[in-house]
Amino acid sequence: MENFFELAAEIFEVKPEEITMDTVFREEIEDFSSLMGFSLIVMMEDEYGVKVSVEEFLKCKTIGDLYRKCVQE
């Protein structure tokens, strides 16, 4: 989980401790960009072998939503 936070934090260019499971990344992350969103999908694929469709991704609101995709599946 820490690993996931670190990876996400690197994409968002924030410190890992600045994000939690409940962070609504599209709103709470300063200048969140579509390229960051893109990078999250790629990261989940590269690091967790999880293929998330854009539709599914758009349904994810919080960091937790993303994280659960990686562990549960």
Binding site: E10, I11, E13, S34, L35, M36, G37, F38, S39, I41, V42, S53, V54, L58
Partner: protein, 246 residues
């Protein structure tokens, strides 16, 4: 023209060029990592026109031997188009050295090594024609494509000096700058775009996303003697993208 080497011959554009050349009676030597059944059967059928070599291009150390072997088995090479390749998108602050290196290797180093081998006297015909494939992303603000664009830029920077040297060996070399054609490669990143992003992208291509034939028509023209006076040029076929209304 005979013995046109095509890398990535199973892919969209490579396949399109092979079909067009074979139809016009030109023999094709296809190189790829794996071959699907369709193309294998095609090769079986056209046993005098299509020859397949399964090879992992990322293994650059043995590429010149491969070319040597091809020449020994089929005679001098008359043309070359490098279609193999892939794209990987990431923001600059996330760039990994291995990603940058792999993109450069497949798009730039591989064709440079193959051309170096082909350029040897005993390996090429007179009037050999080479076509490199570049991309508009090396000329515009293609967010997330900086490493891919850099690899394509490496090809474009190579073009002019190479053309000057190869001209003395009666070899022509040109590049085509293509807009994304809907193939598995472009699919790779297009599938990761939201509907809005994709819409925005498509709007910037007034003539739509290109057909494979839009690329192969131009490339076959550059391979042919029809274009004997064109050398060292970068020709763009982007469906009006670079002159879209602003």
């Amino acid at each position: 023209m005979k013995n046109v080497v095509i890398t990535g011959v199973s892919g969209g554009i490579g396949k399109g060029i092979a079909d067009q050349l074979i139809a016009s009676g030109t023999s094709v030597i296809g190189i790829d990592l794996h071959f699907n059944e369709e193309i294998k059967q095609m090769a079986a059928l056209l046993s005098d026109r299509l020859f397949l070599y399964e090879y992992d291009l990322m293994d650059t150390d043995h590429l010149s031997e491969l070319i040597k072997r091809i020449v020994s088995e089929h005679g001098k090479i008359g043309g070359f188009v490098h279609c193999a390749g892939f794209d990987k998108m990431f923001p600059i602050h996330m760039a990994k050295i291995t990603d940058i290196e792999n993109l450069w290797r497949i798009h730039a180093l591989v064709p440079m090594v193959i051309i170096s081998a082909i350029s040897k006297k005993q390996n090429h015909d007179e009037d050999t024609s080479i076509v490199l494939i570049s991309s508009q992303s090396a000329h515009e603000g293609a967010m997330g494509h900086s490493a891919y664009a850099s690899a394509k830029g490496a090809l474009e920077g190579y073009l002019a000096p190479a053309a000057a040297e190869l001209m003395e060996k009666k070899i022509r070399i040109n590049a085509v700058c293509l807009a994304p054609v809907k193939t598995s490669m472009s699919g790779g990143w297009m599938d990761k775009m939201t509907a809005d992003e994709l819409k925005r992208l498509l709007e910037s291509y007034p003539l739509g996303i290109g057909e494979v034939s839009d690329a192969s028509n131009l490339i076959c023209f550059l391979l042919s003697r029809e274009s004997r006076f064109i050398n060292g040029q970068i020709i763009t076929a982007d469906g009006g993208h670079s002159v879209r209304k602003v």
